[in-house]
Amino acid sequence: MIARPGPGTIVTCALIVATILLGTYGRDIAKELDMRWLVKFPSAWIIPFKTYISGAMKWLVEEAAIGPLSFTDITRGIAWLIEQPYRFVLSLLGDGFTLGRGDDARTLLPPVSWIVVTAAVMALGHYCRDWLLAALVGACFAYLAIFGQWDSAMVTLASVLIAVPIGAGGGLLVGIWAYRHPLGERILSPVLDLMQTIPIFAYLVPILFMFGFGPVSALVATIIYATPPMVRVTILALKSVDPELVDFGRMAGTTKRQLMWRILVPSASHSLMVGVNQVIMLTLNMVIIASMIGAGGLGFDVLAALRRLDIGAGFEAGIAIVVLAIAVDRLSQAFAERMGQIHPPQTDQSWAARHKRTVIVLILLAATWIFGRFSPFILDYPEAQTLTTGVFWNDVVKYLNVNFFDMFEAIKVFFLTYFMLPIKRTLLGIPWLWTIAMLVLLGWRAGGWRLALLCGGLSGLIAITGLWSKAMVTVYLCGASVILATIIGVPLGVLAALNRRAGVAINLLIDTLQTLPSFVYLIPVVMLFRVGDFTAMIAIVLYALAPAVRYAAHGIRNVSGDLIEAGIVSGCTPRQLLRLVRLPLALPEILLGINQTIMLALSMLVITALVGTRDLGQEVYIALTKADTGRGLVAGLAIAFIAIIADRLVNASARGARIRFGLES
């Protein structure tokens, strides 16, 4: 069935062709006409936002004050508040409690022995679920000890133990506030949007400026990064509490506080724990990035290894993060589940009989502290007994590089010449005015004049800050990665939805990809393809693949059974069923998945700056190393603008598709 193309289609095609032609020949035309400003944004028009912001930041730190209380006093106060519990937990797990400084420091109490920590998490695992979970988390922690990652892992664990309660508790309180005040929610919603789209790196710089280099800065950054989802989950969870329960609470004569803490929060506790789990995962995600501003531990080990391209050490520390993440994630999930179940209290037994696990762990703790004086093995895992796989990984890479160099090189060159470079050249060649005009047109088509205005305004701002060409490199890297991720991810998702066995395998793959901290992707890819755009693209594709698969699978699965049956009854072959019924109806979901993929790709972009890309991510990264607040924020905001434009455009078209199918009015 071939429909005659309407005038709209013809115009669209013409515009696309014109854009590509302009991209290819734009540079030459501009040179010919002697109008370089067509392609390159004239430097005279640039507004130096970054200087303004740096100046404002300097003023804030050096001069701003409310009465006698200077801004720095406030930040110091916050830092002190966060530092105290952190020091305590760190002493407990890693450093031990000491008296005095320097050489005359005397150890009051050594840190908790690795045996006790492992026993404690096993006890927790057994309490939350069963022996199987206890064995899993026990194995994870034993791995950390045996592979010599213990000390770093405890530093990381200490920061997780501090960041998670603050992030989850703070998120809960903010969420409750927003739930109570509808206006609060309306203010908060765009703030959360922005917080989740600005790459973390962008706000590392001001935090560095305010709190200095060190674990506190890292904790602050982690908390800022990990809290927004908790706020959202809280609002959503409270809103979805059965309205009858709220009615009941009011009819029972509860005060507002009683209604919140005795009815709403307990009833929503299950969903709230999902939010806590999110906070934990995001905190672990931040481990490596936070080490750029002073968090020690495993993240620092990975980063240091990456900087000296010591693949083995980096890989090992990276795996240790994954192991820690798996242990903490499974524990928190099991804990959430246990919270959801109800266990009759046993009141007729003594405290010790009811808390057998606690008693055992406490006895172990006392025993290790006493016997630790005589045998250091009990306190610290003996170094001579640690295993390392670092050498092995280095050898593997060496072997692959020696024997398969040509093949890897061929793949790389092929992708670069036929896929990446053409996109890059075209994007950089299109006159900036034309690009803005096209964005406005797209916005108008997808969501009316409001969206058109937003697209035009944000892209105009990027141009004015003088970051246009870097932004285009960002779009190119992101675009190429998203195209690749979509080409790989959507079919995988469709397959996962249609075939149960494939679904299980694909789910496992995606789960694994999502648990890995973003940096870990870089290591093996750098090992094989060395630094450069291609490496960056592979890392981004791996990182951003998950939502494309998930949403596609979800969309296909959710097509209403009636429609499938209608298709079968009409005599569709399975292939026709997929092409004519399933795929079109799953399109809105698939689009949302691609949207998520774009967001993840943009957030990975800054990390890939480590392997030498030349985009906005690099700009942010440079700003970080130079502690240049203005530069970092402007580049970070530019990335956020790209993210917002992409997000709104894709969402508007997804909505359009849903309306067309009558799934939404």
Binding site: D247, A252, G253, I263, P266
Partner: protein, 340 residues
């Protein structure tokens, strides 16, 4: 009704839409046409009711008729757009938040369609909850709670959790919980709608026997006309946010105010609604054991049919006020109507 009503409402409006309040202030008695033209949705329109002490008052309507909204206006879970709600002579809509909390704690109780039990509390803790939020000492609250749990027949299940109970048992917990504060006014919002038909019957019977002991003033919401007829002293029928008729079940069957009401009554077995008092030939007298005026025909039909002549009917004071014979019964059971 001669005594002053326990609860009454005057001209209750609940309008949804932008500026609904101003709309009503500008035009205190808008017609359906006015409402439609201004794009406002009228959930409750000019509802007025008087509910007497100790009465089971049923508000009956199909889904979307505004019955749930109306009862929430009466209990002020929803703020009405206009009107007044008089409870024991005081206007609930003018009560402050703290006054309202106090009234709800001591004088109102409510049972919900989907039970609204707190999943994280045991049966006993659920029942104790209204007392706990009042700050009643725990031992005292527990004694009271155990009493009502026993009253609704759940003794022995105190330590179970809601999800371990069947629907009927869960609603018993809901009923116990709403009674633990000994409220004067008892709202039941479709309490049995989520239950299976057999359980529903059983619960209705128990509800009636409970009321026979407690004598609460009850506002009962249902969409089931049969249930309404079975339980009600009086019924208000709602449609599109308006109350179209308030009457006893018998009056509704005999004199439906509109075709809409008649449609409901058509499938109700008349013998279960009509009473001897309504069918008797007044002023006459006969021999034999008299029947009470408020006896339902279905309960006395056999006796009347088996007796040879007319059977005397007596009122509550024991005075013979009329007679009833086979022919009248035959009309009810087999004929099209009662009039001839």
């Amino acid at each position: 009704m001669t005594s002053t009503p326990k609860l009454s409402c005057r001209n209750i409006w609940k309008l949804y839409g932008a500026d609904a309040e101003q709309f009503l202030r500008r035009n205190p008695d808008p017609s359906d046409e006015d409402i439609r033209r201004s794009g406002i949705i009228g959930a409750v329109r000019k509802a007025s009711l008087d509910i007497a002490e100790g009465e089971i008052f049923v508000i009956m309507g199909l889904s979307g008729s505004g019955k749930s909204t109306l009862v929430r206006c009466l209990s002020r879970l929803i703020e009405p757009t206009g009107g007044e709600v008089l409870f024991d002579g005081t206007d609930l809509l003018r009560a402050s938040d703290t006054e309202m909390i106090d009234i709800r704690r001591h004088k109102l109780g409510m049972v919900f369609q989907h039970f609204a039990l707190l999943p994280h509390l045991s049966v006993l803790q659920n029942v104790m909850f209204p007392l706990t939020v009042q700050g009643v000492p725990k031992p005292q609250a527990e004694v009271k709670a155990r009493d009502v749990v026993e009253l609704v027949g759940l003794k022995g299940r105190e330590d179970n959790y809601p999800r371990e109970l069947s629907g009927g048992q869960q609603q018993r917990v809901g009923i116990a919980r709403s009674l633990v504060t000994e409220p004067d006014l008892w709202f039941l919002d479709e309490p049995f709608s989520a239950l299976d038909p057999l359980i529903r019957r059983e619960m209705q019977d128990e509800f009636l026997s409970l009321q026979a002991r407690l004598h609460k003033t009850i506002v009962f919401i249902t969409h089931d006309f049969e249930e309404a007829v079975r339980l009600a002293d009086r019924i208000a029928i709602m449609k599109d946010g308006k109350i179209i008729q308030v009457a006893t079940p018998e009056e509704l069957v005999v004199n439906p105010a509109s075709d809409y009401v008649e449609e409901f009554t058509r499938h109700i077995p008349r013998s279960k609604v009509l009473t001897a008092g309504g069918l008797m030939t007044a002023g006459q007298s006969a021999k034999g054991e008299p029947i009470l005026t408020n006896a339902r025909i279905s309960d006395v039909a056999q006796r009347i049919i088996l007796s040879d002549g007319p059977v005397p009917v007596e009122d509550r004071t024991g005075r013979i006020v009329g007679t009833i014979d086979r022919k009248a019964i035959a009309h009810v059971l087999f004929g099209a109507g009662v009039s001839e």
